[in-house]
């Protein structure tokens, strides 16, 4: 057992934190969130220069060949600073999928631009009516000569209106919830037949509804094996979940810190409110919830690499369930302890709370993942 980070990991996290403290304070973040595009090209470029965007990309394509534990460190720092830049869709999901199942040509074409900060990606998978079921794919891809024609509609595509390239899941065979017959395609967002409706999410991020009407792609757009994408998608989503768990821990850390400071400075009845035992105990429970979540974010980062898919499922779902519950508890209590100020737009606490709420919902909420762990007990 070893819970320590390597010197390289520690150094990367230190420099990333210094950068974010200096360049990404709460006011700046607010400004970025309210801009038309919803993230900052300058910051994205700087993250590329620091090597952050290429961390999980193999060295041959300009990356650093990092592991999910490296991603954990980055996401934790992003969580503290409420970073809006599309790291999850572009790097974790987009680059991750291309790295794992892309052809040599696809890797060469996409991975280096991603590492350099020149290409944004989005993963267009969920659909209306799918809720969190990853196997639900009604979008179709019909063979057409050498290529395919894609038709359907995708929901909550993170950065769907910003990304240059989409990775779209579509059925090459089977019914809407079959485990086989799902394929992945690389689609230019600007391709004829692709339309989107971008919107701002509750936490100030960006997503889109994407429609595909007879979108024609070549054979080289197929990413991975035809009809065999579901396990690939499940693993990619698990990597995203592990990353989100770490981001949540960073946000919880920040909430604990800001709430603690508030309790020490805000006075009522002539004393700092942090002297009241009922509030002290609430803070103690928030700390416990955060530490439990931190442990599970580590479990997720390590076990998401497991070769055994059932073990991976059990551990990642356990982590997402517990982190989601902790996030909800810490978020709600932090707002409560801030009193009236907690329900205003002015404080970072409210925004951390909103981000934590969004993280709990993304890729399945705590109830969904607890149910997966629970149903796993039937086969034991």
């Amino acid at each position: 057992m070893d819970f320590s980070y390597t010197e390289e990991q520690q150094a990367l996290q230190d420099s990333l934190r210094r950068f974010l403290t200096k360049e990404y304070d709460f006011e700046k973040r607010k400004h970025i969130s309210r801009s038309a595009v919803g993230h900052s090209a300058d910051h994205w470029k700087q993250l590329a220069e620091m090597g952050v965007l290429g961390l999980g990309i193999p060295e041959a394509y300009g990356g650093m060949n990092g592991s999910p534990v490296d991603t954990m460190l980055i996401m934790e720092s992003f969580g503290r600073a409420l970073v809006l830049e599309p790291y999850l869709p572009t790097v974790v999901l987009g680059a991750g999928l291309v790295r794992d199942v892309g052809s040599e040509a696809q890797k060469q074409a996409l991975l280096t631009p991603i590492a350099m900060g020149e290409l944004l990606m989005a993963f267009a998978h969920y659909e209306q009516g799918s809720r969190y079921a990853l196997e639900h794919v009604a979008t179709t891809a019909k063979r057409d000569g050498d290529g395919y024609v894609l038709s359907g509609a995708k929901s909550l595509v993170l950065s769907g209106a910003q990304a240059g390239k989409l990775i779209v899941s579509a059925r090459t065979s089977g019914g809407a919830r079959d485990r086989t017959g799902v394929s992945l395609f690389l689609v230019d967002r600007g391709a004829p037949g692709v339309s989107h409706h971008g919107y701002v999410t509750q936490d100030g991020g960006r997503a889109a509804e994407v429609k595909l009407s007879n979108v024609r792609v070549g054979a080289d757009a197929l990413l991975g094996q035809e009809g065999a994408a579901l396990p690939v998608i499940e693993r990619a989503v698990d990597l995203a979940i592990a990353a989100l768990c770490a981001e949540a821990v960073g946000a919880m850390d920040a909430l604990l810190e800001t709430t603690r400071e508030y309790l020490k400075t805000r006075k009522q009845f002539g004393v700092p409110i942090g002297k009241f035992q009922v509030l002290q105990h609430r803070m103690a429970d928030m700390l416990i919830a955060t530490e439990q979540a931190r442990s599970m974010a580590m479990v997720a980062a390590v076990k998401v690499q497991s070769e055994d898919a059932a073990e991976r499922r059990r551990m990642v779902s356990s982590a997402k369930a517990l982190v989601g519950q902790s996030a909800r508890y810490v978020g709600q209590q932090a707002v409560q302890l801030h009193g009236g100020m907690g329900v205003t737009d002015e404080l970072s606490a409210a925004h951390l709370f909103k981000r934590l709420t969004v993280i709990n919902t993304l890729f399945g909420d705590a109830d969904h993942h607890l149910a997966l762990v629970s149903d796993g007990l039937l086969v034991a």
Binding site: M296, M298, A321, V373
Partner: protein, 401 residues
């Protein structure tokens, strides 16, 4: 980062398993697995077997006859021992008074007391709490007045766990009323056979005799039984509690009991007539406990690894996190086990907890202990410094409030 055992840890785990398979008496393991009553002789028997193997004191350094195991190795040992159904070793001697004697006692005390704890010859109990001083220990009133070569002790201790079996008691006593209440306390080792000591049972809400009230009426204690310095007992007491609270995380025991609960849920029938495990509402509660316990286990391992890297730092206030979460999870396991048994848990049949009982039962074998365990284990969030006190410690020491 690597959550797996290292090669050495794997080898160690195999060694522990082989030992348990060979040396843990099946009858003893059966008693523990079925939550039957354990007697004093069971604890002593197991301590003797461990001692023979050189494993009598997993937490002690080699210089005092311990194993010299790292914190992680101790955890592995406890986990395997719990899984195999070994009885818990008696904390009071091994984990509570011994570390104090090692750290603050003199050489004569170390030579006199430690070997007898190791071998199981001396049974220790704890004299901390009093009727008016539970988690607020500093308000204790049992006094010890120095008269020549003796202290004369008068007062009353409460909640002396298993004191009915004890040869010795370690006591916090008031030796001064000057200054802050924490300042006039001393740490005394008292022979339970001393004239003037009376032990009276306190029957717990599950009907069991587990704790006692211990009265001291002009009890003479030789001054050489004072540990460390007079009036410095508070420091030693706090040191001891830090040791106790890691143990109270109890991860190994809870893992075994959760496994058992899972088996119970496969055997019991839900109202639908199907096995209880197929009831999604019940199963979700079980899943929640598994998730919570996994998080606690990793949190414990994180703490132990950090301590192994910097032993001088000690556990400190983070032990309170483990105590709170460990006891909450433990209580939830006992509650859900009772729930799993349905109304079969309502029968009060203490005789069914005796080994070898073959009389009539209500429900399965597991039902006999279910409600009693639930009632008894409400103590978990109260003893060892109540969970409210632990929250005070976290908010003051970790959060600076």
């Amino acid at each position: 980062m690597d959550l797996n055992d290292t090669a050495e840890q794997q080898a160690f785990r195999r060694e522990v398993r082989a030992f348990l398979a060979a040396e843990l008496p099946p009858a003893l393991s059966h008693k523990v697995q079925h939550r039957q009553r354990l007697g004093k002789e069971d604890t002593i028997l197991w301590q003797g077997i461990l001692h023979k193997r050189g494993w009598g004191a997993p937490g002690w350094p080699k210089s005092f006859g311990g194993t010299g195991w790292s914190a992680i190795e101790q955890h592995i040992f406890e986990e395997e021992a719990a899984d195999a159904g070994a009885p818990r070793q008696l904390d009071f001697g091994l984990r509570m008074v011994a570390p104090v004697i090692m750290a603050f006692g003199n050489k004569a005390q170390q030579e006199r007391f430690l070997p007898r704890i190791l071998s199981g010859e001396d049974w220790w109990c704890q004299g901390y709490s009093e009727p008016g001083a539970g988690s607020d220990l500093a308000s204790l009133r049992t006094r010890a007045e120095r008269k020549g070569q003796h202290y004369v002790v008068n007062g009353q201790k409460a909640w002396t766990t298993l004191g009915q079996h004890a040869d010795w008691i370690f006591c916090l006593v008031r030796t001064s009323t000057e200054g802050r209440p924490q300042e006039g306390i001393s740490f005394l080792l008292i022979d339970m056979k001393s004239p003037g000591i009376t032990v009276r049972p306190t029957i717990m809400l599950d009907g069991e005799h587990e704790v006692n009230e211990t009265y001291f009426d002009d009890v003479e204690v030789p001054v050489e039984n004072l540990v460390g310095e007079e009036n410095r007992g508070w420091t030693y007491a706090k040191f001891l509690l830090g040791h106790e609270r890691t143990g109270l995380a109890n991860v190994g025991q809870w893992k075994r009991l959760l496994k058992r609960l899972e088996q119970v849920a496969r055997r019991e029938t839900a109202s639908s007539g199907r096995p209880l495990i197929e009831d999604a509402r019940f199963r979700d509660k079980l899943a929640q406990l598994k998730v919570d316990l996994l998080a606690l286990e990793v949190t414990l391992l994180r703490v132990l690894s950090a301590e192994a890297k910097d032993a001088k730092k000690g556990l400190g206030p983070v032990a309170s996190v483990l105590k709170i979460k460990g006891t909450e999870i433990g209580q939830a396991i006992f509650e859900l086990t009772m729930q799993a048994c349905g109304h079969d848990a309502l029968a009060y049949l203490p005789e069914a907890l005796e080994p070898g009982y073959s009389g009539p039962r209500v429900g399965g074998e597991h039902a006999a202990a279910a409600a009693g365990d639930y009632f008894n284990m409400r103590k978990l969030s109260i003893f060892g410094g109540s969970n409210e006190i632990q929250r005070n410690i976290i908010s003051q020491m970790l959060l600076g409030l």
